[in-house]
């Protein structure tokens, strides 16, 4: 009995992206943002998508969230095609995106209110989640009274309030300072550990992706393709001390190598196109000298 319960729980929240292609604009202004990407997030898995800026990773997340329709391929959640946004997918944005006119608690209640849950039940759930985020004493504050880290913690529990099957996070800690970021990563692993839902996490921070993820997809520069998939064998629960272990360092080195090529390619596509030495330190004054 309990086995079947566990199975049904685990089988929810399977994200499957197949042969995805996204093209913006038409004719001369055509930009291929994402090209032939397939990826998946297993139920309850924490997956990061990492790549240089402009590689289309946010576009991919927008498709899974239901904001953007792909030009080719399809995105499925538990076997069903994703066509529009819905509360089965919680989204956390880089910009804090809290409603400034609602108190902290009302922000967390928002999804439940939209689902027609009665006031007293909304209140109980929101307070439990705020307690989890360590922000219960701020329940009646307005978002503008809080720091960036606090706002993003609220953003996370607000997305969790409707018990979604997956959580989509678009560089959620990108606007935070380094210290806050590290603490937020720990808080997120703890929250994820308790909810056990699938997470698709967009970032360009290598350490962040390793610390949080079970698997990491590395994307190429535009047009975005999947360059590599890295498994993170570090045990759970993750702690801050793990970032000093050799295994962690090795993974950082490996990912740095992969990303560096792509960052350079993203920065200097023209140079690459002209057939000059495109990568690494060779692109320097000498390379520019050849052009003129």
């Amino acid at each position: 009995m309990s086995m079947t319960m566990a199975e049904t729980e685990v089988s929810k929240g399977f994200i499957d992206v197949r042969d995805m292609g996204v093209t913006f604009g038409a004719n001369d202004n055509k930009v291929v943002a994402v090209d032939n990407v397939s990826l998946n997030v297993q139920p309850g898995e924490f997956v990061s998508l990492i790549g240089p800026s402009g590689c289309g990773k946010s576009t991919l997340l927008s498709i899974v969230a239901g904001f953007v329709k792909p030009t080719r391929g399809e995105a499925l959640l538990d076997g069903k095609a994703i066509t529009k946004p819905g509360s089965d997918r919680g989204v956390v944005f880089q910009q804090y995106s809290l409603f400034p006119w609602l108190s902290v608690r009302k922000n967390v209640e928002f999804g439940l209110k939209m689902a027609g849950v009665e006031q007293s039940k909304r209140n109980t759930t929101a307070r439990a989640l705020l307690d989890l985020a360590g922000l219960l004493s701020f329940e009646n504050h307005y978002p503008d009274q809080l720091s960036g880290g606090m706002k993003q913690r609220i953003g996370i529990v607000r997305a969790l309030a409707t018990s979604p099957q997956v959580l989509l996070m678009d560089e959620p800690f990108g606007a935070l300072d380094t210290q806050t970021r590290v603490v937020m990563q720990e808080i997120l692993t703890n929250i994820w550990q308790q909810f056990r839902i699938s997470v698709l996490f967009i970032t360009h921070d290598i350490e962040e992706s390793i610390f949080l993820s079970d698997r990491i997809y590395v994307m190429t520069a535009r047009p975005g393709r999947i360059k590599a998939v890295i498994k993170v064998p570090l045990p759970r629960p993750r702690t801050a001390e793990m970032t000093d272990t050799p295994e962690f360092m090795n993974l950082v080195q490996e990912l740095k190598g992969l990303i560096r090529e792509e960052s350079l390619a993203a920065m200097a596509p023209e140079i690459k196109d002209r057939g000059l030495s495109g990568f690494g330190m060779k692109v320097g004054p000498k390379g520019v000298g050849e052009i003129f």
């Binding site: 819905g86 919680g90 209110k113 939209m114 360590g134 701020f138 308790q194």
Partner: protein, 325 residues
């Protein structure tokens, strides 16, 4: 206050260190248990935050009153200077391009106020004007805000309405007077219509602007949280545009008064504008100034009420970056 502060202290380390995948409900119970346990050994957790809060509050109060005193002082000086200029001008019958020859003195106007101020005629004129303003302004709000929200949100609605709006908008409300008299069955309706025209466009355009300046990520966030179209309007687009809507209401109220007084002067029976124009026809100079001051005070009161409603309806703006507008 004391208990919620304790709850926070208990909750924080739990989030950081807790590793077991337990459901949320259990977590909350545990925190409640720890909370009551934590409260037993500490005999008086209440006074500490209360005292500091009171101190903060008093400090804030002191700061605010001092700021307000300066504000009030400057206001008194500026209004005083205006009256002083008026007083000196009329006392010495100033004639330096502008002519104070026929301008009544402040005292004459004051006498006029005591003479006429409590008369039924004067109060009746005020009541009539206020009724026209309220009617015109309310109709403009009821039509302008929903229409503005729809135009701001939907491109097709915008494409349909904006050409008409753009043509009508530059026509000042006063230019509507002759047409309005032809259009409406009676004088009262035509004046209310002109007041409506004055208030309508600022309200409409500011509402549209409010929708456009709403952060798109909030709309996307609401959609992800399962908001249907109607709920999106009521719970996100309307409150999100509210600051701009209130700017529109304040501007609209000002223009409504301008339009009302002009309409009353041209075509009116009764009303403060009519009162002022009648005084001019009857060469009753102090009554002209009394009429003008009445208009000023009524306009001030109306925008004051709008501002007050705005503050009550949008408490979050006190904390917004840049503070209150």
């Amino acid at each position: 206050m004391g208990s919620t502060a304790t709850a926070k202290i208990v909750a924080l380390p739990m989030v950081d260190k807790h590793a077991d995948p337990e459901p949320v409900a259990v977590e909350v119970k545990a925190s409640a248990a720890q909370m009551s346990a934590a409260e037993i050994p500490v005999p008086e957790p209440e006074p500490i935050p209360t005292v500091s809060l009171t101190k903060v509050f008093l400090g804030l109060l002191g700061y605010v009153t001092r700021e307000r005193m300066i504000t009030a002082l400057l206001a008194c000086i500026s209004i005083g200077a205006l009256f002083l200029f008026w007083y000196l001008g009329t006392k010495y019958r100033l004639e330096f391009y502008i002519r104070f020859k026929n301008v009544p003195t402040p005292y004459e106007v004051y006498q006029q106020l005591t003479l006429v101020g409590l008369s039924n005629k004067y109060l009746f004129n005020i009541a009539i004007s206020v009724r026209r303003i309220l009617l015109g302004f309310m109709i403009a709000t009821i039509i302008g805000v929903p229409l503005g929200l729809a135009i701001g949100k939907y491109e097709r609605v915008r494409d349909f309405f904006m050409p008409v709006v753009e043509i009508m908008r530059p026509i000042p409300a006063i230019a509507w007077v002759p047409m309005s008299i032809m259009l409406w069955p009676n004088n009262e309706a035509s004046i209310v219509f002109i007041t409506f025209i004055g208030a309508f466009f600022p309200i409409l355009l500011n509402t549209i602007h409010g929708v456009h300046s709403l952060d798109g990520v909030l709309v996307r966030a609401a959609r992800c949280l399962g908001a249907s179209e109607i709920r999106l309007f009521m719970n996100v687009i309307l409150p999100g545009s509210l600051p701009h809507i209130f700017t529109g209401l304040a501007v609209g109220m000002g223009v409504a008064w301008v339009s009302l007084i002009a309409a009353e002067m041209i075509s009116g029976q009764f009303g403060v504008g009519y009162f002022t124009w009648e005084a001019y026809s009857l060469v009753d100079y102090p009554a002209i100034v009394l009429g003008m001051i009445t208009i000023g005070v009524l306009g001030l009161a109306c925008s004051g009420i709008i501002r007050m409603v705005g503050v009550l309806l949008m408490p979050w703006l006190a904390f917004a970056p840049g503070g209150r507008r």
